[in-house]
């Protein structure tokens, strides 16, 4: 066989098929299977692993020879043992039935535990409150710390605690003694510095503990709790409490864990000691551990000062479980009483709070002590208004209402513990107690409303309103009470007959509030009540009231978040947008948002509510809604500028597109189109909106055709032409070339469907002229990819449309296809890529389809070229000429590849071309047969097709050709096969 056989140039001639004759159903033979094709193999892998593990105890991931294939093994390993499908197969039950089974089977835990879990659900965990407290109670005042464990700061001389100077240093006094002369006071710390210092103390404590310096750790804990006595920067106290109790919690945990792990516990029947199991009983604890534990408590009992002693004992309260299981309730009650000794009511209430918190962690069920704690506070309530407290507040320049709000976190926590799952009568009991002891204290009312079940509160809403209104002006701010009540009523509905009175009573007071901030924080909560229970008329009045209060002195500027919340609440509870926009106060409310970014936010949430919350709702054609939404969308749209980030643009674009999709005038197509025209002029800056508009107009156009069933009247024909024109002039304003390409093609197709041939030509030509402008890379899934594959697939789509587009009488034969070829010729392809030839191959396909007597598909009422030319020989020869040129191009590319030694590409291209020649070409022409044979040789010459694959491919190709030769008139193929056989053997 000669190595350098030149590929002779040859003329192409298309084969003409008899479609109807060939149109018989072909079907692959079916085969019944009994198993999932993936399943058995993978399962063997798993099983082999499992057995290995149980036998050898080895957990290595390497598998033995039992593994069927290495690829599967690696696959299984990547999926961590099981692929999801097998995983389900291996479970005895599918998740759903399992869930159902779990529901029916009682969970095998003891009653107490489940009840406990229930309580935990009711009580909001401390962790969530913690951050809220830290965020709320901050200060810009300077703070100070006295400690001996941090460097820096000035030295403070500490006088000896005991007047007796003994040569024996009393161990008892050690705890209170600072290391001599090392006590430092750090003054003028900012809040951040202070928090940082406390964090340092925390680390110091853990470090000391880890270095077995337990006394030092205890001392740090004591010093930390001493800081809680100091109320010098009172508005920071709650945050300080949070920070310091965190340290104490850590300390308590360290003590407890060490006692537990150090306790040498002998499991019955075992000789080697282990640490105690998680759940142990005191009689399991060995004597030595009990002794250590007692030592801790003795040590702490000798701390001189009350507050540190209480806090440290509370911190390690859990360790009582080593000594006795019953002491908790006693200890809790004792500690509760001891807290009474704290004179400062704020320090006391936080100590109560910490006790309740610790208590909840150690006891189950018994919550009597929490009530006791609460009543203790109630009993000492008058202390809050004692002259000494007032004097201190004056000194710190803190007003009484601010001071009282410092109590809320602690009180809320305590009362929450009382109220969790409490019966209704407890509420009554506590209310009466508060009434008699503290004369309707606003502070307590607030806490009560926050703690008890909203349904209890809602049932007594009127009573509460009465009490709240009766609260004196001084002290706890009244608006907060109304706010809390509003929050309760948002969660539980009061009796229907009271609702109007409730709103009226509350609003009579609230609307008299002069401070805009106070007012809006009530309004923010109560709007929900109004929206849920009343008609739009009342809501409208409500909104009007808000506007009236927020307008003076541009108060709204400071309360955007609250106003935003108002809008959101109105939106979430309104199902009916019509009523929303018929309210004459809603849009004026939006006008309050004068800051651009906020306003856009609000508009977005409105549109979001409109498009998402009302998915099931009918599309709208209400002019009021459309106008209002148009306005809102325009606000959003106008916020887009050159600096807007892509994501923002995308969001806004989606929202506006959603709106465009929702508007539907039904059969009034003219109106619909004019809406689209209006939308286009309103939103000129957003690509996605334009794309949506073009899509919508195309849809409208197709819809029109559907209604007239393809028979356009003069009027409808004019309308669809208008639609096509709309598309044609809208598309250029889109920036993305890709989108434009798509839309031009789509619009062209729609125009073709509507028999607007001129528009088809225009659209397709526009698309073609765009092709050179397509960027080399496009973004796919956030990554930059070459645009070549996209372009190829787009052009294929384009070609399939071209087949049915009739030639314009003014232009030459197949001028659009020629135009396409010109574009391809000029397009700057990657020099070594096959892409251009691949497209050429597809053009060959299309051209040979165009040469048939009747085409495979048609557009209804559109005469394609097959009818126009009626297989005129001139037309056919024109096609053949074009094919020949393409063939030449491809062959020259093959040569080019040869010179560049791109053999693999060459081989595959040659093979593809071979297939075209054999299938599309007319093999009666001897030149075609020769060409086929040459291509066949070329494809296999360099052996660059994967040998295995090439064998299969070869065999399949030959097989196919043989089959062809069996068919009538297939002797040509038989010849070819014979020749090919000769070549290969």
């Amino acid at each position: 066989m000669s190595t350098s056989k030149p590929l002779s140039l040859c003329e192409w001639s298309c084969q003409i098929y008899d479609y109807p004759a060939n149109r018989q159903k072909r079907q692959l033979s079916w085969e019944e299977v009994s198993d999932h094709p993936l399943k058995p193999l993978v399962v063997t892998v798993i099983e082999s692993r499992v057995t290995r593990r149980t036998l050898g105890g080895s957990t290595t991931s390497s598998t033995g020879s039992s593994t069927p294939t290495p690829t599967l093994e690696s696959l299984a390993a990547a999926l961590e043992g099981t692929d999801p499908l097998t995983h389900f197969a291996r479970q005895e039950m599918d998740p759903l039935s399992k869930m159902a089974a779990d529901m029916w089977e009682p969970v095998p835990t003891d009653q107490r535990k489940s009840k406990d879990a229930l309580l935990d659900d009711v009580i909001e965990p401390w962790a969530t409150r913690k951050s809220a407290i830290l965020n709320k109670f901050t200060t810009s005042e300077k703070l100070s710390i006295v400690t001996s464990f941090l460097s820096g700061g000035e030295k403070v001389v500490v006088k000896a605690q005991s007047s007796v100077v003994d040569k024996v240093k009393n161990r008892l006094e050690q705890l209170d003694d600072f290391e001599e002369g090392s006590v430092r006071q750090m003054m003028d710390l900012t809040q951040q510095e202070y928090m940082h210092r406390i964090e340092q103390l925390n680390q110091e404590l853990v470090q000391a503990w880890n270095h077995d310096q337990r006394v030092k750790a205890l001392k740090i804990a004591i010093q930390c709790s001493k800081l809680l006595v100091d109320t010098s920067v009172i508005q920071f106290y709650p945050s300080k409490f949070v920070l310091i109790t965190d340290i104490l919690d850590i300390f308590g945990k360290l003590v407890y864990d060490r006692l537990r792990t150090k306790a040498e516990y002998y499991i019955p029947g075992s000789k080697t000691p282990t640490s105690l199991p998680e759940s142990f009983t005191p009689d399991m604890v060995p004597e030595s551990a009990k002794e250590t534990c007692r030592n801790w408590f003795y040590k702490i009992a000798s701390i001189r000062e009350l507050v540190p002693r209480l806090y440290v004992e509370m911190a390690i309260l859990k360790s009582y479980s080593f000594l006795t299981s019953s002491e908790f309730s006693q200890a809790l009650l004792r500690l509760t009483r001891m807290i009474r000794g704290i004179g400062d009511p704020l320090v006391a209430v936080y100590a109560h709070c910490y006790l309740c918190r610790v208590g909840m962690a150690v006891t189950t069920g018994d919550r009597e002590y929490i009530k006791e704690n609460f009543y203790d506070f109630v009993a000492s309530y008058n202390q809050l208004f004692s002259p000494s407290v007032r004097a201190e507040l004056n000194r710190q320049k803190v007003d009484l209402s601010t001071y009282l709000t410092l109590y809320t976190p602690a009180l809320d926590w305590i009362l929450q513990g009382v109220a969790a799952n409490a019966p209704e009568k407890l509420l009554v009991e506590i209310l009466t107690r508060c009434k008699e002891k503290c004369n309707n204290s606003a502070l307590l009312l607030n806490t009560i409303m926050a703690a008890f079940k909203p349904s209890y509160i809602a049932a007594r809403a009127l009573q509460f309103i009465e009490m709240v209104s009766a609260c004196d002006e001084e002290g706890f701010p009244q608006y907060l009470l109304f706010r809390t009540l509003g929050l309760c009523l948002a969660l539980a509905d009061p009796p229907a007959e009271h609702r109007l009175q409730i709103l009226n009573d509350v609003w009579r007071v609230v609307s008299r509030l002069t401070d805009a901030g106070h007012y809006v924080s009530c309004a923010e909560v109560w709007i929900q009540f109004a929206v849920r229970h009343f008609s739009s008329r009342e809501v409208n009045t409500f909104l009007g009231d808000i506007i009236r209060h927020m307008t003076p002195e541009r108060a709204y500027e400071h309360h955007y978040p609250q106003l935003q919340a108002v809008v959101n609440k109105v939106l979430t509870h309104t199902r009916d947008f019509e009523s929303l926009f018929t309210m004459d106060k809603f849009l004026p409310l939006l006008d309050l948002f004068q800051k651009e970014s906020i306003k856009v936010e609000v508009c977005k949430s409105i549109m979001d509510a409109f498009t998402h919350n009302n998915v099931q709702q009918e599309p709208t054609n209400d002019p009021v809604i459309i106008n209002a939404l148009m306005f809102i969308c325009r606000v959003m749209h106008d916020s887009v500028n050159a600096l807007t980030v892509d994501d923002e643009k995308r969001q806004i674009g989606n929202l506006i597109s959603g709106f465009v999709k929702k508007v539907d005038y039904g059969r009034d197509f003219e109106q619909q189109l004019s809406f689209y025209v209006e939308a286009r002029s309103a939103f000129p800056n957003l690509d996605s909106v334009h794309a949506q508009l073009v899509q919508s107009v195309n849809r409208l156009s197709v819809e029109t055709r559907r209604i007239v069933k393809g028979h356009h009247t003069r009027k409808t024909a004019a309308f669809v032409r208008a639609c096509a024109a709309y598309c044609y002039i809208t598309i250029p304003s889109i920036t993305s070339v890709q989108t434009r390409l798509e839309l031009y093609l789509l619009s062209g197709e729609v125009a073709l469907l509507n028999q607007c041939l001129g528009q088809v030509d225009a659209c397709l030509k526009a698309a073609l002229s765009l092709v050179p402008g397509l960027p080399r890379t496009i973004e796919v899934d956030g990554k930059q990819r070459s645009s070549e594959p996209y372009l190829i697939s787009y052009l294929c789509h384009f070609l399939s449309t071209l087949l049915v587009v009739p030639d314009s009488p003014e232009q030459g034969v197949l001028y659009l296809t020629r135009g396409l070829l010109n574009v391809l010729q000029q397009y700057a392809w990657e020099p070594t890529s096959n892409a251009r030839c691949v497209v050429y191959l597809h053009v060959l396909d299309m051209l040979s389809a165009a040469a048939q007597e009747t085409y495979l598909y048609h557009i209804e009422k559109v005469d394609s070229n097959d009818i126009l030319y009626g297989s005129d020989p001139k037309f056919i020869s024109e096609i053949n000429k074009m094919c020949s040129v393409l063939l030449e191009e491809i062959l020259s590319h093959l040569k080019y590849l040869n010179t560049n030694e791109q053999f693999q590409k060459q081989a595959s291209l040659a093979m593809d071309l071979f297939a075209r020649v054999v299938i599309r070409g007319d093999l009666k022409e001897p030149s075609m047969t020769t060409l086929a044979i040459n291509l066949w040789n070329l494809a296999h010459r360099h052996g660059h097709i994967d040998p295995k694959l090439s064998c299969v491919e070869k065999a399949r190709t030959l097989e196919y050709l043989k089959k062809k030769s069996m068919q009538p008139g297939g002797n040509l193929y038989a010849d070819l096969v014979k020749k090919l056989h000769m070549q290969t053997s």
Partner: protein
């Protein structure tokens, strides 16, 4: 090459009663073989009486009584001269805890002028080139349940007013106040907390602190003369800041171990205890109410 000598008694809390056997092990831990000239173990219990500086003049007269009183003393040769192999060696021992004739075993007490201490002293004699090794361990003696009196509740009510105060120079400067309350008992078991309640009924000036002061009263001497000293053991704050009026504040104090013992009265010395309730006003003036208490073991 350190040799570690340690004494471990069997009971974790190291508490023993008269007539019991003290058992335990001597632990020798060494990196190499240890040659020694014998290991001995001594158990001794003594009462140490000390002179207070201000009383030294009076005491010189009857110097005798200051000599330590031996309550128990006993020596064992645990090992005869020889060699202990490298590593950990445990040598068990056992002592009966019985007093010397004519002596009684008092409870362990660590005070200022009176100290009652029980020690185990282990000594390893070595040749003249190496130092002898010594290890001392304390153990604690408590009274047996049966032999001593039990605490009988003896409640006391108190009420402190300006009128009830003694030792006041200027009656006119005292603010008006009334502090009432009760102690559950002035006769207490040392293992139980000291309890009671205190109510500040009213008070003209703000209070700074309310404290409980536990005081030991130690008396040394004999028939010819004695010295009596009161010193503070601990001070426990029960009210911090301006405590609320009319609220019952609990009085609660745990007696510290070792530093307290059942009230003791012998011919040579006495150990007694008192509790002071101290109310300190904002201006640092303070009022004190004194309660002698009797402590018992059970």
């Amino acid at each position: 090459m350190a040799i570690n000598l340690d004494i471990r008694v069997k009971k974790a809390n190291k508490v023993y009663h008269e007539g019991e056997k003290i058992t335990g092990v001597i632990l020798v831990h060494s990196g190499s073989d240890v040659k020694h000239d014998g290991i001995s173990l001594t158990m001794e219990g003594t009462v140490n009486l000390q002179l207070s500086a201000k009383n030294v003049g009076i005491f010189e007269a009857f110097y005798n009584s200051v000599k330590p009183i031996q309550l128990v003393s006993c020596t064992l040769d645990v090992a005869s001269p020889g060699k202990i192999p490298a590593g950990k060696t445990e040598i068990p021992f056992e002592f009966p805890l019985t007093p010397r004739p004519n002596r009684t075993l008092y409870e362990t007490y660590h005070g200022v002028f009176v100290n009652i201490q029980y020690l185990l002293r282990c000594e390893m004699k070595r040749n003249f080139l190496a130092k002898d090794l010594l290890k001392v361990a304390e153990f604690i003696v408590e009274y047996k349940a049966s032999s001593y009196e039990k605490a009988v509740p003896h409640p006391v009510n108190f009420s402190i007013t300006p009128e009830s105060l003694h030792n006041v120079k200027d009656k006119g400067r005292i603010p008006r106040f009334l502090v009432t309350g009760h102690l559950d008992s002035t006769m207490c078991c040392v293992t139980k907390p000291f309890t009671g309640e205190l109510i500040v009924e009213h008070c003209e000036v703000p209070i700074k602190s309310v404290e409980l002061q536990l005081v030991r009263v130690e008396t040394c001497g004999c028939a010819e003369g004695y010295a009596r000293d009161a010193t503070e053991i601990q001070n426990i704050q029960i009210g911090e800041g301006n405590v609320p009026c009319g609220m019952a504040i609990p009085i609660y104090m745990i007696f510290p171990r070792l530093f307290t013992c059942p009230t003791l009265s012998t011919s040579n010395f006495k150990v007694e205890f008192e509790v002071n309730i101290v109310v300190i006003f904002q201006d640092d003036h303070l009022i004190t109410e004194n309660f002698p208490v009797v402590l018992t073991r059970y």
